[in-house]
């Protein structure tokens, strides 16, 4: 019984839950989003700063369960400092793992601490928790890129 729980709540997850990385809202940022999980009320406000095609910072404020909080913390570790394109492919990899119903073998080279969430994929009710911060990040990053392309277009027109 405890083994079932332990496959969900790996030590890495509980560590990130107790001591989340990169938490708090910071400047500068181009986009801020607010995502909720309507079934349970978990919420995240998340900011993204992209500079020269690199994810320069991700900052956030969130309330929610251990899975959603730890997943957001791990996500920031994985994407900050990475070129946007590479960060997006890590996002894809994590999404595939979460939607794999426990049948996907995670690539530790790519997902690092993120592999701790492979157990979550076996608990359908918790997959949304694990994806809350990741979806917010993708949304904010898209908006951030859009705002930069608009302002750079504006610059060309001048």
């Amino acid at each position: 019984m405890s083994a079932e729980l332990d496959s969900l709540y790996q030590e890495i997850i509980l560590d990130h839950y107790k001591n989340p990385h990169h938490k708090g809202l910071r400047d500068p940022f181009e986009a801020e989003v607010h995502h909720v999980n309507p079934t349970c009320g978990d919420e995240v406000t998340l900011r993204v700063h992209v500079a020269d095609g690199v994810v320069a910072d991700v900052s956030y404020d969130a309330v929610g369960c251990s899975i959603s909080q730890a997943s957001t913390s791990v996500m920031t570790d994985l994407v900050i400092g990475k070129p946007v394109e590479e960060a997006m492919s890590i996002h894809e990899e994590f999404l595939t793992l979460m939607q794999g119903k426990g049948n996907v073998e995670p690539d530790e080279e790519v997902l690092e601490d993120g592999i701790a969430f492979s157990g979550v994929a076996k608990f359908p009710a918790r997959v949304k928790c694990a994806l809350l911060g990741w979806m917010a990040w993708k949304d904010a990053t898209g908006q951030s890129l859009d705002s930069q392309s608009i302002s750079s277009q504006g610059g060309t027109d001048d």
């Binding site: 019984m1 405890s2 079932e4 729980l5 969900l8 709540y9 509980l14 079934t39 349970c40 009320g41 978990d42 919420e43 309330v63 929610g64 369960c65 251990s66 899975i67 608990f123 918790r126 928790c129």
Partner: protein
């Protein structure tokens, strides 16, 4: 323990699902009955028998099965009317669920007619409602230019009745509130609020989704000035099936309200230009109704009546008191709502310091204890306590003290698993 249903073990045998186990062989401890109740064999059998032997559409099939199906469907209405003490069977309208019943009232009040709500009018609800008794009224007031106002509640989870004079005025057209809160458990003063609303000519709509399963309801025994104008509840919380809700309304009011959905069954005559409408209850029942669901609901309320709703209520109070006592022994646990079992229903929401409700529910589930975690469709009530969500245990007539012990033990285990100490 005093107050428990006599022959509780025999009663439990009526509910086949209670004898199943979890995948690792643990007995199932079902403490999510405010979400949906389990079903006794007699309800399951009644529905199967209907589908096996009497199935046809109602009121339009001119053959043996059509007549039997119509009799069975309308028989469900008779049983529900008797269960709530309605003076007339035709005042019982079947809907899809309690939400649809509330939407029926809120939508038809926006339409032209003697009860039409308009600019300057006030609709009063409360801060402890289920979303289904907030959102339809927001939609009504936004569409009509009326004002939506609400009672707040105190730290104990009791409505602040000092706001009565300010909220219920000559401008107030509708006062709506839950009889028993699905989150706080609070039992609200139906008679007192209804009397005050009637003094200013407002109609009273009561959400009895949590009350109907656990309190005796006798509309006929209520003084007319203290009797709500509309009472709604849902079938699946009173040991009946999903897919059927009940709207009881006072005949004069239901006749004043325009039809809600148009279609078959709700008409008298139809030409291409216009239609005239059927009388009650069919005026509000467009299309093929929930037929087998009515059969199941009829069997369900008969089952509850045979147990005696006074006895069911005593059982709930005894279990709730025992649960409140057990929960008070869990360190860091805070109950959101009244701590006196006599003031509340059987749904107990709580916070456990240091562990998120999702994680509580997950650990309990592994121990075979089923509870709900989240906002229970009552976000405003949670916001009042400064939280997003809570864990909720909800007992019912089949809940045993041993199941409460299992919950409390699993909560201690949850704290140790998350190393809260």
């Amino acid at each position: 323990m005093e107050g428990l249903l006599p022959d509780l073990e025999v009663v439990r045998k009526d509910f086949p699902i209670l004898s199943r186990t979890t995948p690792d062989g643990r007995p199932l401890v079902y403490l999510d009955s405010a979400n949906t109740s389990q079903k006794p064999q007699v309800v399951i059998d009644a529905m199967v028998d209907h589908l096996e032997r009497h199935n046809a559409n109602v009121a339009r099939a001119m053959h043996l099965l059509g007549a039997e199906a119509t009799e069975a469907f309308e028989g469900g209405r008779d049983k529900v009317a008797s269960f709530i003490g309605a003076s007339e069977r035709d005042e019982v309208i079947f809907t899809k669920n309690a939400s649809e019943a509330l939407n029926l009232v809120a939508n038809t009040l926006a339409l032209p007619g003697p009860r039409q709500v308009g600019p300057g009018d006030v609709v009063v609800t409360t801060e402890m409602e289920h979303h289904s008794n907030i959102v339809p009224w927001q939609m009504l007031t936004q569409r009509t230019g009326a004002d939506l106002r609400w009672f707040t509640f105190d730290d104990q989870g009791l409505l602040d009745l000092s706001q009565v004079d300010e909220l219920i005025t000559e401008r107030t057209k509708v006062v709506t509130f839950t009889w028993v809160s699905n989150m706080l458990g609070t039992i609200n003063p139906v008679a007192e609020l209804t009397r005050r609303a009637h003094e200013v000519g407002a109609i009273v709509v009561v959400d009895a989704s949590q009350a109907a399963p656990q309190l005796p309801i006798d509309l006929a025994a209520m003084a007319p000035e203290e009797r709500p104008d509309v009472v709604v509840f849902t079938g699946h919380k009173v040991v009946g099936p999903t897919g059927i809700g009940v709207l009881w309304g006072r005949r004069e009011l239901l006749e004043e309200l325009p039809p809600f959905l148009g279609g078959g069954e709700m008409i008298e005559t139809v030409t291409m230009e216009r239609s005239t409408y059927a009388g009650l209850p069919h005026k509000f029942e467009a299309g093929t109704p929930p037929i087998v669901e009515s059969v199941g609901l009829g069997a369900a309320v008969d089952y509850l009546a045979a147990l005696d709703m006074e006895a069911v209520h005593r059982h709930e109070q005894a279990i709730t008191a025992y649960a409140l006592d057990g929960l008070s022994g869990v360190p860091g646990l805070k109950v959101l709502g009244p701590l006196d079992a006599r003031l509340r229903g059987g749904a107990i929401s709580f916070e456990l310091d240091g562990v998120h409700p999702h994680d509580v529910a997950q650990v309990l589930d592994v121990r075979g204890v089923a509870v709900r975690a989240g906002h229970h469709c009552a976000r405003p009530a949670h916001a009042k306590f400064g939280v997003q969500s809570s864990t909720r245990m909800s007992s019912y007539l089949y809940t045993t003290p041993a199941e409460i012990d299992a919950l409390v033990e699993a909560l201690h285990y949850t704290r140790s698993y998350f190393k809260v100490d």
